[in-house]
Amino acid sequence: MNSFMSIVQIALAAVLIQNFVLARFLGLCPFFGVSKKLSSATGMGMAVVFVMTIASMFTWVVERYILVPFDIRYLEIIVFILIIASLVQLLELIMRKFTPSLYESLGIYLPLISTNCALFAVVIINTGTNQFTGRPFTFIESTINGTASGIGFLIALVLMAGIREKLELADVPKTLDGLPIAFISAGLMALAFLGFSGLSFFAASGGQ
């Protein structure tokens, strides 16, 4: 029961409380780049969820069975970067071969994701300690965290795309047109997401 609760709490935290884009400022470059159109935003969001899940699994295994036993945790940054970049390229090839239709819709975003700070950050967080149980992430927990962070990114991206499409029609002052107004709407969304900060199910923090 206990591990199930922590999984739900992790998912909740990654999607709402510490949303990747709106609370932790991660993944902003693609976030503002792709959120112009709803279709490209959903495509990018899906691709990010997909890649984050696989990357979390992969890096957790490497961390647990290679980095820790050899006590070379300081190499973490390099090994993870290598894994993520090559993984994205590998995924692109695999998708192009086996799922061309999926590749058509997500393919163009894959190279964009390989340099995405959110992806790298979720991997680093997975190696840290799970704030709800105090122990390091287990395999399931780190995968769920990857997926949930991806979903958080997707939600923020889709919301943002919806807003920006409406913004096209509003008469925005000339100097604020383009990126500044996008930042302001992101700021307002971050303010809204701040409301989730006190949220925590089951026991209050530190209950265990």
């Binding site: 932790r24 780049g33 940054i77 390099i78 970067i81 950050a121 680093i124 302001i184 700021g187 307002l188």
Partner: protein, 198 residues
């Protein structure tokens, strides 16, 4: 020649405000000026070194593995910097904790590496590294000065106005977005005025 390059890096092609690169760390770290300065200089160091190495090995790396190699070069410099800061500057490490590894994926470094260093000679990429790093640091300082003053009524961790009750929202996430939106608005206003006059 250098003055013109610096002007390009800081004003016309400022990485954060104009090219909108490297937004993640600039918003996350700009809660205090000392953080901003530390982050700016660290990024500059990594940017310059990785630009140099990439412009050296650019001809030699096969195209298929170009992205992994370039990112790994910058990751290496970040780890070296991370160890260096942990060893000799523990205070800075305590403040910039999670953000130092994020420098590797900072869009500026890979952006400049891909766009510039992999196409130009060593000396040009070196100057570009310095100039872009400078632009990044300057805009980071502006952002963090505004946010620190408004968010926690401090500059360089010293109180500024006695009775002023700080709006803590500015130190939090929304404040970051609003500050950068405001600064970008001012920059585009100045640019359109300059174009109108020119």
């Amino acid at each position: 020649m250098l003055k013109e390059e610096v002007k390009r890096g800081v004003i016309t092609e400022n990485p954060i405000l104009i090219l909108a690169l490297g937004l993640c760390p600039s918003l996350a770290v700009s809660t205090s000026v000392t953080n901003g300065l530390g982050m700016g200089l660290a990024t500059m160091f990594v940017l310059v070194c990785s630009n140099i190495i990439i412009s050296i090995i650019k001809g030699w790396v096969p195209d298929k593995v170009r992205i992994p190699c370039f990112i790994m070069v910058s990751a290496a410099f970040v780890s070296i910097l991370h160890l260096f800061i942990k060893a000799y500057m523990p205070l800075l490490d305590q403040r910039l904790g999670i953000f130092i590894p994020l420098i590797t994926v900072n869009c500026i470094i890979l952006g400049r590496a891909e766009a510039f260093a992999s196409k130009n000679s060593l000396s040009r990429s070196f100057t570009d590294g310095i100039v872009m790093g400078l632009g990044f640091t300057v805009s980071l300082l502006i952002l963090s000065a505004i946010r620190e003053f408004l968010g926690s009524n401090k500059l360089f961790d010293l109180m500024v106005i006695p009775k002023f009750q700080p709006l803590t929202a500015f130190a939090l996430a929304p404040g970051g977005f609003f500050t950068i939106a405001f600064v970008m608005g001012v920059v585009s206003f100045l640019r359109s005025r300059k174009e109108a006059r020119a």
